[in-house]
């Protein structure tokens, strides 16, 4: 009998195991609806051992996975960074446009104020090019005779006098800037009404000439057109006194003016569609004179 059992031990064990596993499976299945149950000692011990072992085995996997995730995250971060950079550039561009609009709005306000003060017909013009020669301070604008722009017409901005139209073609005109050495304007100090001639020096400043030694000119005074030269209307801002010295053997004061117009950033200006009668007479165009000022600031003579 024992030998028989030994001989068929494997088939018997197989049958026993099948029966045992089926029984445990069914028992376990039956106990499942009853709810959670504590594991027996052996099963619990297996779980207790498995958890730290699994954690130890998982550690390198987790490390590699963490590295991979970090790499992916970095990659995503880089993509996101690029997107954000693009967005930032777009927002900066928008911001720039808004600031431009704000500046333009402020400028329009000043232009409106200037036009209210001068009360002369004006034509806006874009600066096409500037300083074509190193010896002359001039610029070209995109308006010409077809726009009623003629030589002898003053050009100005909301900040003050720019210069004088010295030549005009049908579609363009050249403007001699205040800074040019050929430029001379009859002007006066706004505060003390001291008169003189503002002359260009070819640089960034102007000279206020023929000012008597005892004349009341101070640094910070505003200098404006007097209207007596017959070229510029009265009351246009020229600049501010930055230097006023007396003494020595000279009978006249040495006065320097900083122009109120920033010529370096000049993009747009206004041509005053008006010429003095003297210039009209000299040009022989008396039949078609430019409109005269209707009030407010206007030519002094």
């Amino acid at each position: 009998m024992r030998e028989l059992l030994y001989r068929f031990r494997v088939p018997l064990l197989f049958v026993t195991l099948v029966a045992l596993t089926t029984a445990t499976m069914l028992a376990d299945r039956r106990s499942l609806p009853a709810g959670a149950k504590d594991l027996p000692f052996v099963s619990g011990a297996l779980l207790d051992v498995a958890v730290p072992v699994q954690a130890a085995i998982s550690a390198p996997f987790d490390f590699v996975r963490g590295l991979f995730r970090r790499y992916v995250a970095l990659k995503d971060l880089r993509t996101e960074n690029e997107q954000l950079r693009g967005r930032m550039a777009q927002l900066e561009e928008e911001n720039l446009q808004y600031r431009e609009a704000l500046i333009a709005s402020e400028r329009l306000e000043r232009i409106d104020k200037m036009r209210g003060e001068t009360n002369l017909p004006m034509l806006p013009a874009e600066v096409a090019s500037r300083e074509l020669s190193p010896w002359y301070r001039s610029l070209l604008i995109d308006r010409g005779r077809t726009n009623d722009v003629h030589a002898g017409m003053p050009a100005l901005t909301e900040d003050g006098v720019v210069g004088l139209v010295t030549a005009a073609s049908p579609h363009a005109a050249r403007i001699m800037l205040l800074l040019d050495r050929q430029s001379a304007i009859d002007a006066m100090v706004q505060r003390s009404r001291t008169r003189g001639i503002v002359r260009g020096l070819g640089g960034e400043q102007l000279e206020f000439e023929f000012t008597a030694e005892n004349a009341d000119v101070q640094v910070g005074d505003t200098v404006m057109t007097s209207g007596l030269g017959g070229v510029y209307p009265k009351g246009l801002r020229i600049g501010e006194v930055v230097l006023a010295t007396t003494g020595g053997s000279r009978l006249l004061q040495h006065v320097r003016i900083h122009p109120s117009v920033d010529f370096g950033r000049l993009e747009q200006l206004f041509v005053v569609l008006w010429r003095s009668p003297t210039l009209e007479l000299l040009s022989g165009d008396l039949d078609n004179p430019a409109p005269a000022p209707s009030g407010g600031a206007g030519p002094g003579s």
């Binding site: 376990d28 699994q54 085995i57």
Partner: protein, 178 residues
């Protein structure tokens, strides 16, 4: 005995490692190493101890996986028996034959697992996704089966060599000498 014990411990470690690997790889791409170990033991050991170890591995798998206690054990016993039967009637020494057997038994194991689970109340899902998963598992078993069989064979032969001097030798006189 030592070989079976060692393989059982190896099976436990493989099971735990597999559980860790599933956090890194999709479960369908992880080979069922304990099952392959059972097949390897059936082919190379084929003893009652190996059958017991297979059942014990199945119980461990049930405990760790949350399956009804005995489900994997029953299937391991069935797979062990099937592999032993195949080994008796077929020539399974070549890797190709072992790979084929491992693939077929993996398919059988998967189908039986599904059927037993449905018998115990789980929903029986025999759709394309299940078929695909089963096919992937069978393919992995084909790849890893011969390797595991070679490992089991190496462990078995090593322990056999170590145990050989200690085995009893039958003497002509009828007495047994150690």
């Amino acid at each position: 005995m030592i070989a079976v014990l060692g393989l059982f411990v190896l099976g436990l470690v493989a099971m735990v490692a597999e559980g860790a690997a599933t956090s890194f790889l999709p479960p369908a791409l992880c080979p069922d190493l304990p099952l392959l170990l059972v097949i390897g033991m059936a082919l190379n050991l084929g003893s009652a101890r190996a059958l017991l170890a297979s059942a014990a591995l199945g119980y461990a798998a049930d405990i760790l996986s949350g399956a009804p206690l005995g489900q994997h054990a029953l299937l391991h016993v069935v797979v062990f028996a099937a592999a032993s039967a195949a080994n008796r009637s077929l020539e399974l020494r070549t890797p190709l034959a072992q790979a084929s057997l491992a693939g077929v038994l993996t398919l059988l194991n998967g189908l039986l697992l599904s059927l037993v689970a449905s018998f115990l109340g789980a929903t029986l899902v025999l759709d394309f996704r299940f078929a695909l998963q089963l096919a992937a598992q069978a393919l992995l078993s084909c790849i890893f089966g011969p390797l595991v069989c070679a490992l089991v064979e190496a462990v078995a032969s090593r322990t056999r060599e170590e145990e050989a001097p200690r085995r009893s030798v039958p003497l002509p006189s009828g007495r047994r000498a150690i």
